[in-house]
């Protein structure tokens, strides 16, 4: 997989990997998943659901294992456990005096632990490392199809409900007072989160998928005061960092998920420092406006 860099020209840097089937597939899936997670990350960061994203992405683990064991598409198992964990969080929070962040931490670690135990007990062709850390370079044809369907579904729903979801994130009280069903929007957003977590799992794995669900949104948030523009910037930064991450992984033989998230984090860092209005090194003139 590794070729020495000394002889390569910049063009072949970009084109050589494309001669491999697995690389074309990895780049396509990573860019697509990156874009979808990037779009969703706008809602996650504005709603303040970073912890919820972490919880859901970990909680899908036993679902993936059970689905594999039963021969079902893994996305179905992941979806059931993702939504189930959120319902459980809501139930425990309502029925006990334990604070919400504690309940979230408690439920997702419980689910994750269950997943680990199941993996060790159900000996199958599941590679724990693939679930935990993702393996876009080794993604199978059927996994590609599932990821395409999930990505399409999430994108269509987000586009159809984008105004209502934005209003829900901004001012849920107003949304409710004009007769919008905010309970439905709540569970819709959580379902999308579960689906996106499953998609993200393919490229960066369970441990890092929360980064896909918050970092692009956080980066875009520093760059604009317009919601639509934030969506576009989040999608772009997420897709581009996924592509760069896969290339880096190919050329330097580094772990793909880690490389994608690291590029995302670096882009955030650049925005954090140099964003025109909200970067910490912004020019003083923008304060006046």
């Amino acid at each position: 997989m590794i070729s020495l860099l000394s002889s390569a020209s910049p063009i072949s840097w970009l084109l050589d990997p494309l001669s491999h089937d697995f690389m074309r597939r990895a780049l396509m899936v990573s860019a697509l998943v990156g874009g979808v997670c990037g779009l969703l990350s706008c809602y996650m960061t504005l709603k303040g659901w970073a912890l919820m994203g972490d919880a859901v992405s970990h909680a899908v683990m036993p679902g993936v294992v059970v689905a594999y064991a039963l021969g079902l598409p893994f996305s179905i198992g992941a979806f059931v456990f993702g939504v189930g964990s959120v319902a459980l969080i809501g139930f425990v929070k309502q029925k006990s005096r334990v604070k919400e962040d504690t309940v979230i931490g408690l439920v997702f670690t419980g689910f994750f632990a269950l997943g680990l135990v199941l993996v060790s007990k159900i000996r199958s062709n599941i590679d724990l490392m693939h679930i935990l850390f993702g393996s876009p370079l080794g993604i199978s044809g059927s996994d590609v199809n599932q990821t395409l369907i999930i990505s399409g579904l999430v994108t269509v729903i987000l586009l159809l409900f984008r105004r209502d979801l934005m209003l829900y994130c901004f001012d849920a009280t107003h949304a409710r007072s004009i007769g919008i069903n905010t309970g439905l929007l709540h569970y819709l957003l959580l379902s999308l989160l579960s689906l996106a977590a499953v998609a993200g799992l393919q490229t960066v794995g369970i441990i890092l998928v929360v980064a896909m669900l918050i970092t692009p949104g956080a980066t875009a948030y520093l760059l604009t005061d317009r919601f639509d523009r934030m969506n576009v910037l989040a999608i772009l930064s997420s897709s581009i960092s996924s592509i760069i991450g896969v290339y880096l992984s190919y050329w330097f033989d580094i772990e793909t998920g880690g490389s994608i998230v690291l590029v995302q984090t670096l882009i955030f860092l650049v925005a954090f420092l140099f964003a025109p209005r909200y970067g910490i090194l912004k020019s003083n003139s923008s304060i006046a406006s």
Partner: protein, 264 residues
């Protein structure tokens, strides 16, 4: 504008009817036997201490909490139905809003139109006209492209008032509207409230700021876990009633506009 609000000519229009409303949260009573009837075209102050049930009463009027007993009707309809008719607008306290949300003044006011739009919430020409008109009335038309976070507290309050105007709601619920606003906004708001009253809207203002209530509320509701008294401001604002409302504190509270905050 007046015509659009007068829908039901046969019976005398009751904007808000609450009959013996009780609300409890997991066994803790927040409000009991609260009854209130407000006609179209009035400005009513909802006065009580923090924790007296003002926000619970608002939540019940907006259908966020279901009364364990009693009935609430808005424009003669059950609350969810009235909401679908865009009858109720809530103007939040400034603290209740995420000011760093990436949205413009125009977009915030447009949110008042969502309930009247189609499923995809694509604004029509008449929606844009309603937003423009609402922004003109609160004197924010020049700031319409500004991010909401760059506005002052008073300007932000006016933006949310514009959203209620754009919604064409007949019942306006305002939560502490005079907290943290500038003199210009305060004057504009009191003028707008009087215009709203003349247009047949009913305005319910939750506050513990007694001086503003005395200045321009026609009616006042004193609340402390239940409706202690309601009626014409001049009749209700007695030393005795206010003492009951503020839990036995001396009624010279009237002189200090925000003095009740120090109580809580």
């Amino acid at each position: 504008m007046m015509n659009s609000l007068k829908t039901n000519n046969q019976i005398e229009e009751m904007r808000i009817e609450a009959d013996q409303v009780c609300v409890d949260y997991n066994g803790t009573v927040a409000l009991y036997d609260a009854s209130l009837r407000l006609k179209s075209g009035c400005i009513c102050g909802l006065v009580g201490m923090n924790g007296a049930g003002k926000s619970t009463f608002f939540k019940a009027l907006m259908g966020f909490v279901r009364p364990s007993r009693g009935i609430i009707r808005i424009n003669g309809l059950e609350v969810p139905k009235a909401q679908r008719n865009q009858a109720v607008a809530y103007v939040p306290q400034n603290e209740g809003i995420d000011c760093s949300f990436p949205t413009s003044v125009w977009d915030v006011v447009m949110m008042g139109r969502y309930g009247s739009m189609n499923f995809l919430r694509i604004p029509s020409a008449s929606d844009r006209k309603a937003v423009w008109h609402a922004l003109e009335r609160v004197e924010l038309i020049d700031l319409r492209k500004r991010p909401i976070g760059t506005l002052s507290g008073g300007q932000r309050k006016r933006a949310f008032l514009a959203r209620a105007i754009a919604q064409r709601a007949s019942v306006l619920l305002l939560d502490e509207p005079f907290t943290g606003v500038d003199v210009r906004t305060e004057k504009l708001m009191s003028e707008l409230f009087i215009q709203f009253r003349n247009e047949g809207r009913t305005i319910l203002i939750s506050t513990h700021d007694l001086s503003h209530v005395r200045d321009f509320c026609d009616l006042v509701v004193l609340i402390n876990k239940t409706v202690l008294a309601y009626g014409e401001t001049s009749e209700i604002f007695t030393d005795e009633n206010l003492t009951r409302t503020f839990g036995g504190m001396p009624p010279d509270l009237l002189s200090g506009p925000t003095s009740s905050e120090s109580l809580s």
